[in-house]
């Protein structure tokens, strides 16, 4: 029996180039090799992909419609569920959008605290993406190491906001609480030990001959095509374009920090992997700078109309009770206007296009979701490549189903 199987298998491989029979293969929506709900209908000639047709929308939850009926502070949990590998960046992006609309200037300390949280989220996101690229090439060890590190980042989020994955972190105007001692201790520990562990992962994978043979020239895209396809974030930088929202349109005091934007050359899987590896180091660098120069002050800005008062004051003071009630009931003063605010999400430019008519909910809210826009390049990127490279290309593009389908 086993002999027959082997022989059949051998025939399959050899037929690839001989008879040119075209098969249709349904990859997904649930498939162990795709990380999330993605369906691709592939036309394959043996192992080689001739055509791909992605179908998306399997976990569409109508966030844009939901947002039209929710008060501004209740939209934060929706943003959690976009790119759920780095929810804090989405949360902060949303807070900043509302602050821009309402004309709130947050204090420097809040900015710096946000930078620390956002960069931690970026590290967590990149760790997931890069270690999974490792898994798809057969290197499971690095994945198990790096998920321990990600776990430590989640513990830090837990210390600040009580949640791990869908964080709902921060408030309009600042943070719900100051960084607790537990967070500071954990961050300190993380900054001391993570670089060493990360170097270990790096040395296991980055210059590994098997890995390099596998990922170099897999799923490449040229800079010109990437721009035409609306690529942003690490995927665009891997193609050689040094566009980073943090530098081009600085928000949350990013102009105060010194950091390098790594760029690649070929836009292939290896370049995407390397850009993320370097960004993790740069993020650590930014966190250190933010800690060293952390301004004194409070963890929130004095905007009682938007920022929930401390709970114990709600029981004691009339003003706090009134503000609490108004915010919870969604009666915050929001001016009419339209605003576009973009942040550098972990996988690209995450934009919020918000139109307000002055009511308690947005009139229209549109999320510019980076992976929704760049995933449409996927068929072009995998055309003519091997099926196994297609899996690798997808994981290295960091397509997150939640963000794709909104």
């Amino acid at each position: 029996m086993s002999e027959l199987n082997i022989r059949n298998g051998a025939q399959l491989v050899s037929s690839e180039t001989i008879d040119g029979e075209i098969a249709v293969l349904n990859l997904g929506p649930t498939h162990p090799a795709t990380h999330g709900v993605f369906q691709n209908i592939l036309k394959v000639d043996g192992e080689r992909i001739l055509e791909a047709e992605p179908t998306i929308g399997y976990i569409h939850r109508a966030f844009e419609k939901l947002a039209e009926r929710r008060p501004y502070n209740q939209i934060t949990p929706i943003t959690d569920r976009l790119n759920y590998c780095s929810s804090p960046i989405n949360n902060m992006g949303w807070h900043m959008t509302v602050e821009k609309l309402a004309g709130i200037e947050v204090s420097k300390r809040v900015d710096y605290m946000r930078v620390i949280i956002m960069e931690l989220a970026r590290i967590a996101d990149h760790l997931v993406c890069n270690s999974v690229v490792g898994v798809d090439t057969g290197a499971l060890t690095g994945f198990t190491y790096m998920f321990q590190e990600r776990e430590r980042i989640y513990e830090m989020f837990e210390a600040v906001c009580g949640a791990r994955l869908t964080t709902n972190i921060g408030r309009i105007g600042g943070f719900e609480r100051d960084f607790p001692e537990e967070f500071k201790r954990k961050l300190d520990d993380f900054l001391k030990t993570f670089p060493k562990n990360f170097d270990e992962f790096d040395s296991l994978v980055t210059r590994n001959r098997i890995f390099m043979d596998r990922v170099i020239k897999a799923g490449p895209i040229a800079a010109e095509r990437a721009l035409n396809y609306g690529f942003t974030g690490p995927n665009l930088r891997a193609a050689g374009v040094d566009y980073d929202v943090r530098v081009m349109n600085p928000y949350s005091s990013y102009q105060d920090f010194e950091f390098i934007i790594p760029v690649g050359k070929d836009g292939d899987t290896y370049d995407r992997f390397m850009v993320r590896q370097h960004e993790i180091r740069e993020s650590l660098n930014i966190i250190r700078q933010a800690l060293d120069n952390m301004p004194a002050g409070k963890h929130y800005t004095e905007v009682p109309d938007y920022y929930l008062p401390p709970k114990d004051e709600v029981y004691k003071s009339m003003e706090a009770l009134i503000y609490h009630f108004k915010i919870v009931m969604g009666e915050t003063p929001i001016p009419a206007g339209e605003v576009y605010h973009a942040v550098e999400g972990a996988n690209g430019e995450l934009g919020y296009y918000l139109i307000s008519d002055g009511g308690r909910t947005p009139y229209r809210l549109h999320f510019r979701r980076p992976c929704f826009i760049y995933y449409q390049a996927y068929p072009e990127m995998i055309q003519g490549s091997l099926l196994s490279d297609a899996v690798l290309t997808m994981s290295s593009m960091n397509v997150i189903a939640g963000e794709l389908d909104a």
């Binding site: 929308g57 109508a62 419609k65 349109n249 296009y353 826009i373």
Partner: protein, 168 residues
Amino acid sequence: MTNNQHQQVLDALQQRFGADLGSVSEPYGLLTVEIPATRILDVLDFLKNHEQLRLDFLTDLCAVHYPEDPGREIAVVYHLHSMVHNIRLRLKAFLPISNPEIASATKLYSAANWMERETYDFYGVLFTNHPDLRRILNMDSMDYFPLRKEYALEDETRNDKDDRFFGR
């Protein structure tokens, strides 16, 4: 981004399209220009290939529904970005809901493909010459455009939720 650059963009647009340009505003520092829907492709093409401006990155494309504005119910909104000069520009084209037709930008931007499908999916905007204008996030059998304002979020037959008690 400076006002000088905004003026430059406006001057270039005015020189080329003159009276066709609609209202100009700058909400929260982002230059916003209204253009007639029939000229959208010309404007996008002009901006993309303009040697100085280089507004050649389509950041975002979406629609907005204004049911109270007869003849201009659907606004299609384009966000352009010049990465060379760091200028952002918002273009708006208004369409009547009875005939929401506008030229597709897919010839200029591959990125517009799915963005336009999404806009069609939720607002029913018909992009002419789009290679594959199908629904993208909703199921194909859906027979309405859910983000239009006439579709309330909650089931209207429910009577256990009284808006007056929720401040809505």
